[in-house]
């Protein structure tokens, strides 16, 4: 098990990053920090999916004269480009909401907001 994990250390690192993000989301009260935690989780998953596409010693999947196989798997990269755009979009909306919350309540600390309710 440990040996197998060592071989997949890249994936394990993504899991650790994922948990760091989750920790931030759960424990931080500041809404922007909460959202940064979410971004860390997203990044962890993106890194994981890109890592599934890695081939040892592979080249960038751009064809043309003078390039040799093996190539990196292009599919995960294409997926994650889409994933990044999705993450950016979510971030934009979250920040918009935070701006409004700040204007209306004068604070973006979750515990103070709960009291204000």
């Amino acid at each position: 098990m440990i040996a197998a994990l060592w071989h997949n250390i890249d994936y394990a690192a993504c899991v650790v990053l994922f948990c760091i993000g989750l920790y931030t989301v759960i424990t931080k009260h500041n809404l922007i920090k909460k959202f940064m935690g979410l971004n860390i989780m997203e990044t962890a998953v993106f890194a994981f999916i890109v890592a599934t596409g890695v081939v040892e010693g592979g080249n960038a999947p751009i064809m043309g004269p003078g390039v040799e196989p093996p190539f990196i798997n292009p599919l995960p990269q294409a997926l994650i480009l889409t994933g990044i755009v999705v993450a950016v979009s979510t971030t934009a909306l979250a920040l918009g909401l935070v701006i409004r919350i700040w204007h209306q309540c004068g604070t973006i600390e979750a515990d103070e907001l709960r009291e204000a309710e």
Binding site: N8, A12, V55, P74, A78, T82, S89, L93, G96
Partner: protein
């Protein structure tokens, strides 16, 4: 107590995930299913049948074009969402934020002005070269959007408002999905399949034109959306 709960939760997430990733096919091995099932076809035939030497672009625009239509829709959604949340807010400001921040220093002003034309050029290059080098419509559009943001920083609000074309603004904001759907329908007319691109030597030019059109559409749309989101957020300063 609370801390113990958090630790328990994190362990409950981490341990199964670690056990799972340990059993995944070995990282980097060329024999993993991810490298033997679908991807080889893309690598072997992508350049000829999908019309882009950069296989990532071929996958994005051609093989999995529907995903990218979804992607540009998501970014449009983000813009509509930010506008719907922020525009026309009833002014119930609880705290007055200072009306304007520090004046921008001359150095920043100068550097942004000097770099601006080069940034424009670079963004156009990234958009148009997406099918042969890393890059593409969205990346180029983001660069152009970043330029608009940088210019907004050194200008007065009135000047900045003139940066984005006023009249066709809302059409340009929707440029990415519109260009995509138009290309999709063109493909439907030419090949009988939505988002189909004509294959073959004689129609290679048509396919390239269609791909370029989509890239430009995504670039313009992306830049407009990013600039609009930024401006909407900054409007309440």
């Amino acid at each position: 107590m609370k801390r113990a709960l958090v630790i328990a939760l994190l362990l409950a997430v981490a341990v199964p995930l670690l056990i799972a990733v340990a059993d995944l096919p070995p990282h980097g091995s060329p024999d993993a299913p991810a490298h033997t099932h679908v991807a080889p076809r893309y690598l072997e035939r992508g350049a000829e049948e999908a019309g882009a030497e950069n296989i990532v672009t071929a996958v994005i625009l051609n093989y999995r074009g529907l995903d990218t239509l979804g992607e540009v829709t998501v970014i449009f959604t983000a813009m509509a969402a930010v506008l719907a949340v922020l525009v026309g807010a009833r002014a119930v400001t609880a705290l007055d934020t200072p009306a304007s921040a520090l004046p921008v220093s001359m150095i920043v002003r100068f550097i942004v002005r000097v770099l601006a034309p080069f940034i424009v050029l670079f963004s156009i290059y990234v958009v148009l070269n997406g099918h042969v080098t890393p890059g593409g419509g969205f990346q180029g559009g983001t660069i152009a959007g970043a330029l608009v943001i940088a210019l907004t920083l050194i200008m007065s609000d009135e000047q900045a408002a003139r940066l984005l074309p006023r009249r066709p603004e809302r059409v340009l904001q929707a440029a990415a999905p519109l260009a995509f759907i138009m290309t999709g329908v063109t493909g439907l007319l030419l090949t009988g399949d939505f988002l189909g691109y004509p294959v073959g030597h004689e129609s290679a030019l048509v396919a390239t034109l269609m791909l370029t059109f989509v890239e430009i559409g995504i670039g313009v749309g992306g830049a407009m959306v990013i600039a609009t989101i930024f401006r909407t957020m900054g409007a309440g300063r």
